[in-house]
Subunit: 405 residues, 2 copies
């Protein structure tokens, strides 16, 4: 008998009808002999509605109050799911984050799980019940309610799976797995049967919305197998796990892209030790994530420093960089918000011969100019004109024959 943690997102539990459909699915798994913990998100648009209410009474709602308010969304869906299961004749109980022993720090809106006290969870499982747990939330040592921020419910599911030493964590979503690239862009995109944690992390960080990187990192740290699958059909999805074997390495596994890239160039700045720190520390303090960084070779003691940020962070970053440019003696600050990124992802590809050159050649043949390049052990990313990104994805998917298994 396997112990499985399942997680259903907001669209899977958006209405009473969908809750009943998911309950039916849970019953099938339970009848198949599995022990089940089920993590649920808030129903459909509930969270948006609660945020709207909060902003009707306060321009800047207090974070602690906001978290307690938000937590009601998952409590509603969890109790309804438990009721639905009981109405089908199966033992079920819903547990809030506090009841499920999910302890976090007190960083409201972006709390981190510190420990899971699984005593009550185990007790309810031992009694044969399906245990429904509210996703996205935790409780401080003062019993105040926190929320985990983006990707929170996935993180709840993986954390519970780890704490309970579950056999697998199934993330049910509105797509049926992880694809070689976005199927809306490339119709030949192929569902991957499996993918390694590190590849999934890159795919997630590079714009694949299937799972938040945070929950993948947690899975990787504890070696918890995670399956991404559809809540609307019974197909197997994509298993994220430690992929072994030489064959799966050194090959491009997927193409990721990101249309929201802004670039800032600080030109003609005297090159001296500590330059990068003096530019990037203030940005980090302001919560601006810097991605691709390129520093030109110095010419006559001066250099150009270019870096990308999320497009929505561009104005904020410029407000920090422009006054700073004077202090560090730069001649010019320029920026553009019309860039995008395209990346090829695969374990070991940085050191695999021919992959980088094949990527550059493909883009060159298509007449797509590369503005910046960055690589990690498992990906190669090119910044290109935003209007050419989707074409680049198509060409690369074809060039690396990702439509073939």
């Amino acid at each position: 008998m396997a112990l499985i943690v399942q997680k259903y997102g907001g669209s899977s539990v958006a209405t009473a009808e969908r809750i009943l459909a998911v309950a039916k699915r849970i019953v099938d798994a339970k009848m198949g002999g599995d022990s089940l913990v089920v993590v649920v998100s808030a129903m459909g648009k509930t969270t948006d509605e609660l945020i709207r209410l909060a902003h009707q009474v306060s321009q800047e709602p207090d974070e602690r109050e906001m978290d307690l308010l938000m937590s009601t969304g998952e409590t509603v869906s969890a109790t309804l799911m438990a009721m639905a299961l009981r109405s089908m004749g199966h033992g079920a109980i819903s547990l809030t984050a506090g009841q499920a022993g999910i302890h976090t720090d007190a960083l409201y809106g972006r709390a981190r799980i510190q420990a899971v006290d699984s005593e009550r969870l185990r007790r309810e499982l031992d009694a044969g019940k399906v245990v429904i747990v509210t996703g996205f939330q935790g409780v401080t040592d003062q019993f105040d309610i926190t929320t985990l921020g983006r990707g929170g419910s996935d993180t709840t599911a993986v954390a519970l799976a780890v704490a309970l030493k579950a056999d697998r964590c199934d993330i049910y979503t509105d797509v049926d797995g992880v694809y070689t690239t976005d199927p809306r862009i490339v119709s030949q995109a192929r569902k991957l049967e499996e993918i390694s944690y590190e590849e999934m992390l890159e795919m997630a960080q590079l714009g694949s919305k299937v799972m938040h990187p945070r929950s993948v990192e947690l899975g990787e740290a504890f070696g918890m197998p995670i399956m991404v699958r559809s809540s609307f059909n019974d197909e197997m999805g994509t298993l994220i796990h430690e992929v072994g074997g030489m064959e799966t390495r050194n090959r491009v596994r997927g193409i990721a892209h990101d249309l929201n890239v802004g670039k800032i160039t600080v030109a003609g700045v005297p090159d001296r030790p500590g330059l990068a720190a003096s530019v990037f520390e203030p940005l980090a303090q302001a919560g601006v994530s810097v991605d691709v960084i390129v520093q030109n070779v110095s010419v006559e003691g001066a250099t150009d420093l270019s870096f990308t940020v999320g497009r929505t962070d561009l104005a904020k970053a410029l407000r920090i960089i422009e006054p700073l440019a004077n202090q560090i003696g730069a001649q010019l600050v320029t920026s553009t918000d019309n860039l995008g990124k395209v990346s090829v992802v695969g374990a070991g590809i940085q050191s695999a011969p021919g992959i980088a050159s094949a990527m550059f050649r493909t883009l060159f043949d298509a007449g797509i100019n590369i503005e910046m390049i960055t690589t990690s052990e498992i990906r190669i990313t090119c910044c290109v004109d935003r209007e050419r990104v989707l074409e680049a994805v198509q060409k690369l998917h074809e060039a690396f024959e990702l439509d073939k298994a």
Copy 2:
């Protein structure tokens, strides 16, 4: 500096605008120097909406799950109220029943408060904050959420006032106090400045919807002064407290009525010891409350037993009584559902000369036939034809000159 517990019902917090209006009122009280704990109900129709959702997934929703689901309604209004106060520049924090230390038994849907651990409440009050507490709910020793059933939020407010040794508990509602009778029936009805706990209990039990008897009983047991007042104006309401002084005793203080009365008569039953018990015990076990009971004097060893029940309980009571009638040798069971009750209420009136006779005379003069009579120390109740009840209320209000202070 006084410590006041305020309670606002669902209609007072039905929209963001009303929450802001109530927050303004709380700020005024706070600026006046009072320490405040504020108990809130769920917003307007929230509870109905949650019940509707539950019945979409389950015909008979589990009680534990139902209570946890219901509890989200008050959590939403409590957090919004705290946000509204903070947006006005005042320290405020919302506490769930668990955080506020409201411990109950595990009788879901109708839990009883067992203890209030006020440590956190005091800590937040000492920090100068307005503490907003979710009404209607508690927590078991397993940290499961319970609801208190009818009149729950009023009970929460009075219980917190008692635990904190507050100076007063203010119940804000959509009426501006307790009236000599229902002002919709008698336009000359007058708001009472004060009323004793026992009088208020009778008024509540006899159909006045202003407060649930349960919270009044709690106030009486601990001598907590309760003021019923309007959340839509600044008028003083009616103070429920231990009324001293001879002048306020032995006078009719109010007229109550109830239009939902059913009567059952078990006729021609052999009169023997234990007869009443054999009839009323099965009813009590089935949860049917019996109100007025009249047993005729025995004639030739046989008697008639008549009693009233709530009209909605009449069919259920008959299903119990009819088979029983055979066993106890009764000749006939008859019933009617077209009765109502009218009561005069006032401390000490049972023993005050002239009040009962004045009541009977007033009804007689109006041609209203009295079917049954029952009295307690502080009320005299007559069962009459339901269609004559409102007229009876008007005549009695006039006869006892209740429009005059």
